[in-house]
Subunit: 653 residues, 2 copies
């Protein structure tokens, strides 16, 4: 009789986590692992379909194990599907790397590793959840609730004496009792110190009733002068759950950082600018939640990268002295602040981590981009260029870095361009002539009828017009060449990219000489910046072993065409890699890996800033670059050769 009530108990030891638990005979191995806080992938939810939960038995045996889904070789090696395994004995279970991390992370990183620019990092989010099933308080054990929580963290996770936020203490009695002394504790290791020497210990930022470990999300946000780009990240699965972009509402108060700073000095200006960028962030959050169906309360952390002015304004720091000589930022490092304190509509416990900055014009977005491309890990002499309203350049490698910034204006993000727009659905991102008919082929993002033109579209169009001789090297239309699409408009000559009936906006979409002039100024500033910074440390542009391009261009920055217009140097094409929005990538990676968070702080400390704003070389280089591709054709030999070749000549016939 009593036999039927006795269930055998076995010990299961998970490696390399080194977590041991005692379980009942017949328990499911995957469930046991999850309950013990040991992560095993299980994309299909434990139905034996996805085969992501493979583990290896080092000793002991299980019932089932998914033999029919494994190769004979695997099975013989002790490989089992955890979700299909019922425990029959003491076990030592080895969880192989591929089961420890969702495939999505690996795929994402494998894709990047295929190119030049990829960081090596391990999945180790700075924010973590710990599940506790605590013994209830009794008269014999009526320790205070906080002590019980701390005791549990020590017993179950060997976490000792970690700091705890006051508001967590305040809600603790109710969290503990709501689900019968079962709670989930959230910790983060986000820093309150400027330097990297001191080890950062985790602190407790939240406690929730029950087991909420499966809901752990974070936001990565790039706050640009023109746009706010954001990703919703699933920290359990290491993947991007949703992604969106919107305009930075501060645009209404000035197109560039200088006019924003000027506005911030008006009465109420700083508060207003903070409020509207927070509005923009709240808009992207709403959109990400809508896309994903994730609950607002399950977002546990935000990382934000932006240029120094953007980060100052978001935090409500006065950027006054960024604009005034000698150009001192308030702070290059700011401890994490509560999102709710800034007006961001997320849980009270959520902190905002902003990237450390370098100077008044080289900010957290650059630090973020540099770590995202692995420049801090390579020996290769690297040129990193972030193309945007403010252009930033970093040169160096793992051993040293120097940086400079230059004001390019908003053309690369579609600003100051008649039909300019950001790189979203409906933006013309590519342009090419049919060599026979000379009719333009335009390509829009998502393939829908065009609404306007984004930065990459602009570069591609100008390069193509130049190559086909419709545009002269001074940026003016070659009116001696007949084209039915060239006409005189309000802003001088313009080229019709799409006729009204083909568009979403019901008007002709054109590119004007004013647009082209803005693009030339922008590319001239970028090129002059690279040239001046390199020469300041006696490096010739041709010496760079890799050139990393970042910028919010969508997926289609065409290196060849960017060289054609003189934005990028005319060096072997295989040295270039385009990483897209590097700032956003870095903001994502620090959510996935605490190592990357530390790398960001180290990179910020190692960079030397070179001021270009009062530099004569820069001014000379800038003026010389106000031409397509450059006034000194010898710097762009392949472009000059091309411009004198068939396409161009064919039109001149």
């Amino acid at each position: 009789m009593s036999d039927t009530q006795t269930v055998a108990r076995y010990k299961v030891h998970f490696m390399p986590d080194d977590v041991a638990v005692t379980v009942n005979r017949g328990d499911n191995l995957l469930s046991i692992a999850l309950a013990a806080g040991v992560h095993i992938n299980a994309s299909c939810g434990g139905n034996g379909l996805c085969k992501t939960c493979k583990v290896k038995l080092s000793s002991g045996d299980v019932d089932g194990g998914g033999q029919e889904k494994l190769s004979a070789e695997e099975y013989d090696q002790g490989i089992r599907l955890a979700c299909q395994s019922l425990i029959l004995s003491d076990l030592i279970v080895i969880i192989p790397p591929e089961s420890r991390l969702d495939k999505a992370v690996q795929a994402d990183e494998r894709k990047k590793s295929a190119g030049l620019a990829a960081s090596a990092w391990r999945f180790n989010p700075p924010i973590k959840k710990y599940y506790l099933d605590l013994p209830p308080a009794t008269l014999k054990d009526n320790a205070n609730d906080l002590f019980r929580l701390m005791w549990g963290l020590k017993q179950s996770y060997d976490l000792h004496d970690i700091p705890i936020n006051f508001d967590v203490i305040r809600k603790l009695p109710f969290a503990l009792r709501e689900k019968d002394w079962k709670v989930t504790v959230t910790t983060t290791v986000i820093s309150s110190r400027p330097h990297t020497k001191t080890k950062i210990t985790p602190k407790i930022i939240n406690v929730e009733p029950g087991d909420t470990r499966d809901r752990l999300y974070a936001l990565a946000i790039d706050v640009g002068t023109t746009t706010v780009c954001a990703q919703l990240l699933d920290l359990n699965r290491g993947k991007v759950t949703a992604e969106t972009i919107t305009f930075n509402k501060q645009i209404s108060y000035g197109a560039d950082v200088i006019t924003r700073i000027a506005y911030s000095q008006k009465p109420g200006g700083l508060k207003k600018l903070q409020q509207v960028v927070v509005d923009s962030i709240n808009i992207v959050i709403d959109e990400l939640l809508k896309q994903s169906g994730v609950d607002r309360h399950d977002i546990c952390q935000i990382t934000v990268a932006g240029n120094p002015t953007m980060q100052h304004l978001l935090l409500g720091l006065d950027p006054k002295y960024i604009r005034l000589a000698p150009y001192t930022p308030n702070a290059n490092f700011v401890p994490s602040v509560k999102a709710a304190d800034l007006g961001i509509k997320l849980g009270e416990q959520v902190y905002v981590f902003t990237f450390p900055s370098i100077s008044s014009y080289v900010g957290g977005d650059i630090v973020s981009g540099v770590i995202s491309c692995g420049m801090h890990q390579t020996k290769k002499l690297t040129l990193y260029i972030d193309i945007g309203t403010n252009g930033e350049i970093v040169i160096g490698n793992a051993d040293w870095m120097a940086t400079a910034s230059c004001s390019a204006g908003p053309a690369f993000e579609g600003g100051g361009i008649k039909h300019g727009m950001i790189a979203v659905k409906g933006a013309i991102e590519d342009f090419a002539f049919d060599p026979l008919t000379m009719e333009p082929h335009i390509k829009t993002i998502a393939g829908v009828p065009p609404r306007g033109i984004c930065g990459s579209g602009l570069i591609n169009t100008v390069a193509e017009l130049l190559e086909y001789g419709l545009l002269a090297q001074n940026g003016k239309f070659n009116t001696s060449v007949f084209s039915p699409r060239i006409r005189e408009g309000e802003d001088g000559f313009e080229y019709i990219l799409a006729h009204a009936p083909e568009t979403q906006i019901g008007r002709d979409i054109v590119i004007t000489e004013v647009d082209i002039d803005n693009l030339i100024r922008a590319k001239a500033a970028m090129y002059a910046g690279c040239h001046t910074l390199s020469h300041s440390v006696s490096i010739d542009i041709a010496d760079f072993e890799q050139v990393i391009l970042a910028g919010n261009f969508g997926n289609s920055l065409n290196i060849e065409r960017a060289i054609t217009i003189g934005l990028l140097p005319d060096i072997p094409r295989e040295r270039f890699a385009f990483i897209g929005n590097g700032s956003l990538s870095g903001a994502r990676l620090v959510n996935f890996s605490n190592d990357m968070l530390n790398a960001a702080r180290k990179v910020a400390q190692m960079m030397t800033n070179i001021e270009l704003s009062e530099n004569n070389d820069f001014n000379n280089n800038y003026v010389a670059a106000l031409f397509l591709p450059h006034t000194d054709g010898r710097l762009f030999p392949s472009v000059m050769e091309k411009l004198s070749s068939s396409k161009n000549n064919s039109r001149s016939k």
Copy 2:
């Protein structure tokens, strides 16, 4: 010509601070020391009057030095008055201990050391100010403002990589530039961790333009169930600048912690109770500032000690489970919180440190009292009794401590007593019969006409009435003894302490049988608590080598009379020491000494709590003690002898 422009430069090395500075010939030694952050007392402000700034020259010489104010012996030993010394050479200056700390601190502590109960501690406030004269930002050195500040702290004070609060960063640019890059930085080492194992590093909580080092004040506050007592402390001079007391406005919502907790569970109740105790604190702050003329912004820190319910309510923590079995507090440790967040009207940078607690009914006030009397430093077996609305008892010594609490009711603080009042001006604090005329002599606080009677007055009166036979051991008036002052009133028989014309209130001040009954219940609970706790660890009350009494009685708790009524055990009188408001003393000491702050955390961790509330021994002991002095006269041999002696008998004749 050029000679007159050359000023000789000398090196001055201060010991034991080990601070070296380079100065000009003729500089004043005291000014140099202060500028270098080396503290030398100078009570008279550097006028050569107070002779507190004596230093010893180990090498080198000065002009002046105050020879006429020093003995020949002193002068020969190299003693000089720093304020009268002009530097003439390189110097090694030794600052003797008596010049390192204001005399006031020493006097205060010397006074205490004369008695049994005094803590040994060194003057080392957890909050400190550092003065910086920073190099201005230039184009060649345009580091961010935060970096400049951190660099200065490292250069001048060897402070590395310390955390800084976000709001300090935010105001930094303006603080730096307001007084030409001269600022004062405030740091504190107040903790955010429950345990003592981890070293607490200082953090920056404020920055002010110019040199504000001479203005560094703190508040020590005892938040009692009935009263709020506070001292304003000058942390430069280690002295109490002002002191005051007021009722805890929560009294309107219940006389004891249980009724307060009940009120807190009503809608809005917790918020209301928090608000009114904060009101009371704001009242004492206003009064302290008025008394002292100190500026509100120069208060840099608050330490608060109170029982667990008082600390919960002040912090807005829900005390719900303190009242419900198994009696679990929300937290026995709470990180420091911003005073402004609680509604306390002080600068944004001010933190409130609340003492760690032990259990639901033994709180930070007890931990504070224990460290103030040095119980944690002695080998003597000690009984510590805090007499108040809630009575708490601690037994043990430096090696171990056990504690218990019992509800005494508010009688000791004048609560539930017809003319009861707290121990302030006009309260009857002492009472004695003229042995010849049998007319009572009453003594009031400050010697003004009486307004009511405080706890000590009540004890003294009941003891005297008992000794003179006007009161029977059961607490009823002995109506067989004639006294023109005994009459029947609304609440049964009563004794007239002062007739209406002699009072401030224009009514007879009386003590009633109901008052006496309340006092008996209160003293019975205290005595039963001591008895039960001692016996629970097999200690006889007679074994205690010292008995420390704390309580808010003003200066006149009469040990002999407290024994007479059976409040205190009948053991040799020289073992008793009355320390007054120990809770307030401890709150003062942690402001003066970081060591005491650490001691408080250690004491809180070492105490074992014994629950009396469901303890049968306690109930039996309580009932047995509902008599004057006790139903078991053998426990009070000297009292029994006294009661059967002359005074008593003389009346019975």
